[in-house]
């Protein structure tokens, strides 16, 4: 069975996955997002890549902008975004579990 592709989210280092993961801890504007992502994933997202992903996520209703008088507009994750992230995380965990088991990093579960 082909793995499902929740809301177009694919790999753990995809900018949309990284952004949703960052916003799961609360609303952030662009620079705060970039710093947070660099901190937990070691990935530096340039402004172009970051806003390209923000555009796609907003179009899909997975994040939404918050009102702001500053040019640094914050974004927050929506309910649909949380669901999509949960699906993506479950997929990544399933793959990680298989990899860990095959490498002998965790005890193999016997049926």
């Amino acid at each position: 069975m082909a793995p499902k592709e929740p809301a177009g989210l694919r790999r753990s280092n995809d900018p949309p996955v990284l952004i949703l993961t960052s916003l799961a801890s609360g609303p952030k504007h662009g620079h705060a997002l970039a710093k947070d992502i660099e901190g937990f994933a070691g990935v530096h997202l340039g402004p172009g890549a970051l806003y390209g992903a923000i555009t796609r996520l907003e179009e899909r209703g997975l994040i939404e902008p918050l009102a702001s008088e500053d040019r640094r507009r914050p974004y927050r994750i929506t309910g649909a975004g949380s669901t999509a992230l949960a699906d993506a995380v479950a997929d990544m965990r399933r793959i990680a579990d298989v990899g860990a088991t095959r490498l002998g990093l965790v005890p193999r579960v016997l049926a």
């Binding site: 504007h29 662009g30 620079h31 970039a34 340039g46 402004p47 172009g48 890549a49 970051l50 806003y51 390209g52 923000i54 555009t55 796609r56 179009e59 500053d70 040019r71 640094r72 507009r73």
Partner: protein, 310 residues
């Protein structure tokens, strides 16, 4: 600081206007934070340019699924139109390369070559008729657009195309008069000046085709097609893409068939010799046609996917 901000705001020119209106100020703020007073490097600028162009492609429906199906359908049809223009240029090169090929009839493999040549001709005629039908279908919307004051927004490319067409007419007459005073040998490589003039004429014709394609796309992107008309254009575009693919494939078959029994014709040597049939000229033409076909098929795939989604 203001000059720095202007410099960064200048990088937004790569993005589509509607995107700039929505995200531009935020992106400039992010770049200010990201650079922290430093000037953007060349690599940084290139990255922003690539992102902006990617966003343009996305907004136009060329990539991704962000644009509405009607927008992607329209864009797909225009991509096919561009591929048709590319085919015209490659086809003109093929017409020159295959000139007088029928003199070689009688050699092995010519039955296939003749059939392939006929298929090229038929597919090109069918494609041209389909393109003209597409233009006709869009004509009422174009007239409405011009009557509503749309001319200034398309004037530039159209005027350039008209001026270039006039230049082609003048150049064609000039080259024709010159050729009339030359011998067969001089017209076929024996006169350097004439050869240079022909090359310049070919470049002028190619540029004029490109100018008309640009003007056509500029107009087509601004006219408002109703749903029914758009679907007709979409089906025509798929058919034109098929004509482009068939024409390119048939030219490839002709080349192979001629390679088998008349490689001397392709290489421009004496009959009876057996040089390599792979000439730079034909390889460039075929490569160009393969690229045109890839473009046509990509446009057709955009159209077909958006027809299913609409």
């Amino acid at each position: 600081m203001s000059r720095d901000r202007d410099d960064l705001a200048g990088l937004l020119k790569w993005y589509p206007a509607s995107w700039r209106d929505r995200y531009g100020a935020e992106l400039v703020a992010l770049m200010e934070d990201d650079l922290d007073g430093r000037r953007p490097s060349l690599r940084y600028r290139a990255s922003m340019a690539a992102s902006g162009m990617g966003q343009r492609a996305r907004s136009a429906g060329l990539t991704g699924d962000g644009a509405a199906p009607e927008v992607r359908m329209h864009t797909g049809a225009l991509v096919v139109l561009a591929s048709w223009a590319a085919l015209l240029l490659g086809g003109a090169g093929f017409a020159k390369a295959s000139e007088h090929y029928s003199y070689t009839l009688g050699s092995a493999g010519h039955g296939v070559a003749v059939t392939a040549f006929d298929v090229v001709t038929a597919a090109a005629v069918v494609g041209a008729v389909l393109v003209l039908m597409g233009v006709s279908v869009a004509l009422p919307a174009t007239v409405r657009f011009l009557r509503a004051g749309g001319w200034p927004s398309v004037r530039g490319p159209v005027v350039v195309a008209v001026v270039m067409t006039a230049a082609v007419v003048v150049a064609t007459v000039g080259v024709g008069v010159w050729a009339h005073h030359l011998t067969f040998h001089q017209r076929n490589g024996g006169d350097g000046g004439y050869g240079f003039a022909i090359l310049a004429w070919v470049l002028l014709v190619a540029s004029t085709v490109a100018a008309w394609t640009r003007a056509g796309i500029r107009v087509a992107r601004r006219i408002d097609l109703d749903r029914g008309t758009l679907r007709v254009e979409a089906y025509l575009a798929v058919d034109v893409a098929a004509a482009v693919a068939v024409t390119s494939a048939a030219i490839g078959v002709w080349w192979i068939a001629m390679s088998d029994g008349a490689s001397w014709f392709l290489a421009g040597t004496r009959p009876g010799t057996h040089p390599s049939p792979v000439t730079v000229q034909l390889a460039m033409i075929e490569g160009w046609l393969v690229a045109a076909t890839a473009l046509a098929l990509y446009g057709a795939s955009l159209v077909i996917r958006s027809l299913r989604a609409a």
